[in-house]
């Protein structure tokens, strides 16, 4: 155990930092926690920024240059996540394309599909990920959108819901049931579906914040060429969630970094509101600080096992802990404002209502991508080895 990394890796860091300092657009700075989780549209600056990262090998550093990377090793990937996280700089405002679709196409796709990956990672093609359905949320294997093959095409019927970015997407990475008679996990396949195919209808849904970030997607006798099958027929269950294997060791950094940023902002906020010597508040913030710092240490500890190729149970805790912590941090940001804690008015509210907004956004963090209850179930069975109920 030692603090800090070797000079070779620190060189990587300084190269990255100077790139960020000279290239990051002003819109990407400032650590507003809404970016990436609450944008109703995909702004031009974000499209340009993603492409710029890709072209300079800074989009997914573990990948080779033709995929937007620079063959970085796991530690370099961690450093990358640290530096972006520390500055609150998003790579992309839509994670589906680079974090889920691109990697899955590369791992499971045909040659033609692999060729679609660079555009997905660069953000030239906007993808949505169609997993959840009205009756298949936590229980994804219950999905019922059907795809029936007639030889040349699949005929797709059904509905997806809460599909992020569906309103803007050109392609959907769509989980469908291809064998209704097989055991639940064995009858699922993945298709790529062009969103402009006749029979695809998108009905926007708004978040509680009012932004139309997600949507319902309806499939009504949609004809999808058989070549659009990703991986094996009925083998879709394997293709679940982000396959950024190289980055898995460092994905937690973002949550911890934004929590660290929030703490120092909260301290500043307390002082600026004249509450810097309020003992109750000081205690609350120091308790949060202790949590963030120990969580951070846990993340690095997990990274050590990850880098040595063993599984890191620590990582199963990270999403659970950091999403719940984030909610508490933002709520504290509202509470510090006392009577004015519910004021959202741009012109009057502290930091234009940042804390109120971020808190509302953070409420989704314990639901999307597997609820906190499901995370706890996963830890119980996979980490603690408890028997299943």
């Amino acid at each position: 155990m030692k603090l800090g990394w070797d000079s070779e890796h620190e060189l990587f860091r300084s190269e990255l930092v100077s790139f960020l300092q000279t290239h990051a657009p002003p819109e990407a700075l400032g650590g507003r926690d809404l970016i990436g989780t609450d944008t109703g549209d995909i702004p031009q600056w974000a499209r340009r920024w993603q492409a710029e990262l890709f072209d300079n090998g800074w989009m997914v550093p573990a990948y080779p240059p033709e995929l937007g990377g620079r063959d970085a090793d796991p530690l370099e990937c961690l450093i990358y996540a640290e530096e972006l996280g520390r500055r609150g700089i998003p790579r992309s405002v839509h994670f589906g394309g680079y974090a889920i679709v691109g990697p899955s196409l590369l791992e499971f796709g045909s040659e033609d599909q692999k060729a679609m990956a660079p555009a997905a990672i660069r953000g030239d093609t906007i993808w949505c990920v169609g997993m959840s359905e009205p009756d298949a949320g936590s229980d994804l294997a219950n999905l019922s959108t059907s795809a029936v093959s007639d030889g040349d095409s699949f005929v797709v019927n059904g509905q997806k819901v809460w599909t992020s970015y569906a309103l803007h997407a050109e392609q959907c990475f769509c989980y469908v049931r291809t064998d209704p008679d097989a055991p639940r996990h064995k009858g699922i396949s993945v298709l790529t579906v062009a969103m402009d195919t006749p029979g695809v209808t998108v009905r926007p849904l708004r978040h509680i914040t009012g932004s139309a970030e997600f949507a319902e997607v309806f499939f009504d006798d949609v004809l999808v060429p058989v070549e659009n099958l990703v991986g094996e027929l009925h083998g879709g269950w394997r293709i679940t969630m982000g396959s950024l294997a190289h980055e898995r060791g460092g994905l937690w950094v973002d949550g911890v970094a934004s929590a660290e940023r929030a703490i120092s902002d909260l301290v500043e906020l307390s002082i600026s509101l004249g509450r810097g010597s309020d003992p109750v508040l000081r205690r609350q913030l120091t308790e949060l600080y202790v949590e963030v710092q120990s969580l951070r240490a846990l993340g690095y500890k997990g990274f050590a096992s990850f880098a040595q190729g063993s599984s890191a149970p620590e990582h199963s805790y990270m999403k659970l802990a950091s999403s719940e912590l984030r909610q508490r941090l933002y709520e504290t940001g509202m509470d510090i404002q006392g009577s004015f804690g519910s004021i959202t008015d741009d012109a009057v509210a502290v930091e234009a209502g940042r804390w109120q907004h971020s808190w509302q956004v953070s409420l989704a963090a314990t639901i999307g991508g597997g609820t906190s209850e499901i995370q706890r179930n996963v830890v119980a069975s996979r980490v603690l080895g408890l028997p299943r109920g």
């Binding site: 229980d139 708004r206 909610q327 741009d346 009057v348 409420l363 639901i367 109920g389």
Partner: protein
């Protein structure tokens, strides 16, 4: 301590419950405030005129009765100056024998109070700009409570006068709860209205009523969240069974329910104390407000979590309640403020004993 309701009180509660569920569907507040449509605001106004104006006089009744009524109000999200007129302004006007009090009580004038200054405390102060003025934009008159630029210590006095809302310079300040607007209002001299005086002690007592009634409203808000959640998790199935059958959810809901039950009881205890002018009324008010605020906020979060994705949508009513719970908790003193008052009181009497 007898928590049993008289037949009249049961009837009052049932009447209120039926009234709010029948006449105040969430579409009313959505059309008026959340997704405004033409005619939306006037429909909400008409519903208030027809169904709620007659109830403003509850501010002259016992606090327990008013709490029973307002708990039902809290289970529906309305955009109406009901609490402001009946629990806040009317008692202030009564306390100073203001001639407008009768017209507020009989429903012909709606009113709110401008009191909090830049510090956001509901205490008499001399600030020219009054903030957190509830329901401004929905009311006919504003009751100013002001200390003429001097700070009012215990035993001090404040002035009370009324100005028609239309004569005031004001700015609506957006808050999370779009259905209960807040405004900044610039103090205007009394004009024709002769200022009356109120001692700080009396003002405090009057505000206790408003505080406990607001707490009752929050209990109603929490109760809606609880009932809606229990109903949802009992029918929503995942993994082949209702999600409410998973203990991971059950225990969360049990703990939150315990909190709600305690808060509800604390609110009616405080209401009884105020009605009886019991010496415990001050502490009981702080307990009621902080407990009710905490339970409403907790239920908002837990309800969201238990609903999963569907609860995170604008289309679902949950966020209307989430917004109301979080805004109401911060009116008339947030939890931290009430705790602080309690601490002062607890440690002061401890000091005397020693």
């Amino acid at each position: 301590m007898d928590f049993s309701l008289t037949p009249e009180q049961e009837m009052l509660r049932d009447t209120a419950s039926a009234l709010f569920s029948r006449e105040f569907p969430s579409s009313l507040v959505r059309d008026a405030c959340y997704d405004p449509v033409t005619g939306g605001a006037s429909a909400a106004e008409a519903a208030f005129d027809r169904h709620l104006r007659p109830w403003i006089s509850m501010g002259d009744e016992s606090v327990v009765d008013q709490c029973l009524f307002m708990e039902e109000a809290g289970a529906a999200i309305t955009t109406a100056p009901l609490w402001s007129s009946s629990a806040l302004a009317l008692p202030v006007l009564r306390a100073v024998n203001h001639p407008d009090a009768d017209r507020v009580a009989d429903g012909s004038l709606t009113a709110t109070v401008a009191l909090a200054g830049s510090a956001g405390e509901w205490r008499a102060n001399g600030d020219v700009l009054k903030v957190l003025v509830t329901d401004f934009g929905l009311v006919d008159i504003v009751v100013f409570v002001d200390a003429d630029g001097e700070s009012v210590d215990s035993g001090g006095e404040a002035h009370v006068w009324v100005v028609p809302a239309g004569d005031l310079q004001a700015r609506v300040v957006e808050n999370m709860d779009l259905a209960r607007p807040l405004a900044e209002v610039t103090r205007r001299p009394p004009g024709d209205d002769q200022p009356l005086t109120i001692t700080e002690g009396d003002l405090g007592s009057v505000l206790e009523r408003a505080t406990v009634v607001l707490a009752a409203e929050m209990v109603g808000t929490a109760r809606w969240l609880k009932e809606t959640t229990i109903e949802y998790v009992s029918t929503r199935e995942q993994f082949g069974k209702p999600v409410g059958s998973f203990q991971g959810l059950q225990w969360k809901l049990v703990d939150a329910s315990l909190e709600l039950e305690k808060a509800g009881a604390a609110v009616y205890y405080a209401a009884m104390c105020i009605d009886a002018d019991d010496p415990d009324r001050h502490r009981a008010t702080h307990v009621a407000k902080s407990a009710a605020g905490a339970t409403a906020r907790r239920w908002a979060k837990d309800a969201m979590q238990a609903h999963g994705g569907i609860g995170y949508t604008w289309e679902h009513d949950l966020h209307l309640y989430l917004r109301r719970a979080n805004a109401a908790d911060r009116l008339l003193g947030d939890s931290a403020w009430h705790m602080e008052q309690l601490a002062l009181d607890l440690f002061q009497s401890q000091g005397q004993r020693v």
